[in-house]
């Protein structure tokens, strides 16, 4: 265990990153999936994570959403520690109360949507605002309908997920996450479970978010073209660490590392 006294209680300054991973390590038993990850994401930045399967990409998002506990290091969100909390001048592992407090800044969309099957599209979106944020039903409805409008699902607002296509479900899931007004949005392979012909309807929604909203976004994707189009920065993960990162034009156009070159050419051949 690293000595957590070595980590700042909070990150302050003019350029406080919205998300900061500091020396984060994660293993499952003997298998280390992430070794000493350092990654800062600025406010409003759109960062894509690419890499072969098993490289630890998805784990990065799941740790940030607190779905996985980290073994070492600290994650900060908006300058405040997420995975830990200050106690008597040092950082200790966060309790559920602290996590609940800090999770409010983060929203996530999943590969398999994970909509609540017993609720309509609208009810899915209203659930968090009403139950967790304590909004009135009317407020939550206005907010949810506005977001369903944004993702182009307002006409299906009273349908249950089982009546919706994969692309439609994923758009509702995006609206549901946005309804919580997170500062950071996480997209975990949101197009991987979709039929090819509906991928566009989901990527278009994300494009719209990038151009019209000042959200900080972190996206794991297999769609290189999409990542290249919309990202401010692309990180290539390999073997549990960032092998190479940079603006998309550079990383895709002129990759420096051999592994990056191999990966990108393998992906191009597959297409």
């Amino acid at each position: 265990m690293l000595d957590h006294t070595g980590f700042p209680l909070e990150i302050t300054g003019e350029t406080t990153p919205m998300v900061s991973f500091r020396k984060v390590r994660k293993s499952y038993g003997a298998l280390t999936v992430l070794k000493n990850l350092d990654l800062d994401i600025a406010e409003g930045e759109m960062v894509s994570i690419i890499g072969p399967s098993g490289s630890g990409k998805t784990t990065v998002l799941r740790m940030l959403m607190t779905l996985e506990q980290i073994d070492d290091g600290v994650i900060y969100v908006d300058g405040q520690p997420l995975t830990h909390m200050p106690k008597q001048g040092r950082l200790v592992r966060a309790n559920e109360r602290h996590l609940r407090n800090r999770r409010a800044d983060i929203g996530m969309c999943f590969q398999h949507f994970n909509l609540f099957p017993h609720m309509t599209a609208l009810e899915n979106c209203m659930e968090g605002p009403v139950q967790v944020l304590g909004l009135s039903k009317a407020e939550a409805r206005d907010r949810s309908e506005e977001l369903l409008e944004l993702v182009g699902m307002i006409s299906k607002k009273d349908q249950r997920p089982s009546r919706l296509s994969g692309g439609q479900q994923q758009r509702v899931a995006i609206a549901r996450a946005l309804a919580m007004r997170p500062k950071v949005m996480l997209f975990d392979e949101v197009t991987s479970a979709l039929d090819p012909e509906v991928i566009g309807e989901v990527t278009n929604v994300i494009r719209k978010l990038v151009s019209e909203h000042n959200l900080t976004m972190l996206m794991v994707t297999h769609q290189m073209g999409f990542a290249r189009d919309i990202s401010d920065r692309v990180c290539f993960f390999y073997g549990g660490k960032i092998e190479e990162q940079g603006p998309p034009a550079e990383l895709f156009g002129n990759p420096q590392r051999e592994r990056t070159q191999q990966f990108l050419s393998a992906v191009r051949e597959a297409v």
Partner: protein, 221 residues
Amino acid sequence: MFDWKWDFVWEILPRLLVATGNTLLAAGAGYAIALVLGLVFALAQRTPYRALTFVVREFVEFIRSTPLLLQIFFVFYVGPQFGLRLSPWTSGMIAIGLHYACYLSEVYRGGIESVPRGQWEAATALNMTITQKYRRVIIPQAIPTALSGMGNYLVGILKDTPMLSVIGVAELIHVANSIGSEHYRFLEPITMVGIIFLAISLPAAGLIRLFEGRVRRKLGL
């Protein structure tokens, strides 16, 4: 039929019908206890406290492996030994409620475990408390899976209420036995009890299936 006396049937029917009321009451009250206590047992096995999980698991296993009849005697007779007298109804409800709570806790557990992991994760991503996760997301989805087991045990508890006769609860078999020994005729009372049980449990099983279908549709699953 052989020596079957209809006059006698009509004579004892009112007493049997009153006893039917008691049988239904015992089954209903026992089931209500089991429903709530079963949920407590199921949730206790999902807490992070290993010792609690272990103790509850073993207790459930123990109750499920031993005869209800013996448990009824145990609850009824052990109290007075320590100066605590329980009425037949109270002991009966404790024993049968506890017994079926253990069965129902397994049904609930199966239901809860059938909810995909992604649903828990989505609820976490919406920053729900553990209570909200269960109440709003998990339990509504666990119920359809649990329903058929819950229905089976409702009929099961009804059919086990005759065991309460041994400590003097005036349910069907108890009354039929009294009638039998008063009149030295067991044919009609015991047969009538069988017919009454069939008349309740067969339609009940059908109704439960109907209800299951409706709940499933209502939850859109």
